[in-house]
């Protein structure tokens, strides 16, 4: 079955809006990471968040491991926030990172 599932697949917002991206993960997955893939293809680490809440500027993330989901919040969106956001988790016992399909975020000026 699907081990890491992201929603929504696409999100289009105006500059200044807030957004919430969701990642559901199966029982066999833990050690969540959030990445931003910019238009040039570079995967940029946002958060390593197995559980709890972290904040970095306009971005924050929360993982509720017991309920198998993680949320990425982006406040006051800027056009440079555009790109694809991936969550990824480690398959327990295999030391293998499995990615979701991503959420493509477009921030219009």
């Amino acid at each position: 079955g699907i081990q890491v599932e992201q929603s929504p697949p696409d999100l289009i917002l105006q500059e200044g809006a807030n957004s919430t991206l969701r990642c559901n993960f199966s029982d066999s997955v833990n050690n969540l990471q959030w990445f931003h893939q910019n238009p040039w293809g570079q995967l940029i680490n946002l958060f390593y968040i197995p559980s709890g809440t972290k904040q970095n500027g306009r971005l924050s993330a929360t993982t509720v491991a017991t309920e198998r989901y993680s949320l990425l919040y982006i406040s006051s969106s800027q056009t440079t926030d555009s790109g694809v956001y991936f969550c990824a988790g480690l398959i327990q016992g295999a030391q293998k990172l499995v990615f979701g399909q991503g959420t493509r975020l477009t921030i219009n000026p």
Binding site: Q33, G41, Q42, L43, N45, A94, Q95
Partner: protein, 116 residues
């Protein structure tokens, strides 16, 4: 601190030709990964190295793909011969991971391969 370095950034070849990609991980990171990313999808693991040992190559198509990390630092991924379906982005990542614990992975900029 320098990040993961990959070269070349772009490569265009004709089918049946060989191609090689190079990766230099973050200094001190003993674990190195090669991923394949097809258009519109998330990366998928091809091979994982702990120092110079390939500890997980179950997803590597061994009929045409090979990889090496001879001194436990730099790594090379090779395809011979390339097929049209190999067109994708090849990503290298590293982490300071030990077998008994997990640390986050850091990715290089990738090599975009186009096979004509």
């Amino acid at each position: 601190e320098a990040g993961v370095v990959q070269s070349p950034r772009y490569k265009i070849i004709e089918k049946k030709q060989p191609v090689a990609f190079w990766c230099n991980p973050i200094s001190g990171h003993n674990t190195l990964y090669w991923y394949l990313q097809n258009l519109g999808q998330g990366p998928e693991l091809l091979i994982r190295y702990e120092n110079e040992e390939a500890v997980d190559d179950s997803q590597l198509p061994k009929d045409r793909f090979s990889a090496e990390r001879l001194k436990g630092v730099d790594s090379t991924l090779k395809i011979q011969p390339a097929e049209l379906g190999d067109s994708a982005v090849y990503l290298c990542a590293s982490s300071p991971q030990r077998r008994s614990s997990y640390n986050e992975q850091f990715f290089g900029p990738g090599t975009r391969l186009t096979v004509l």
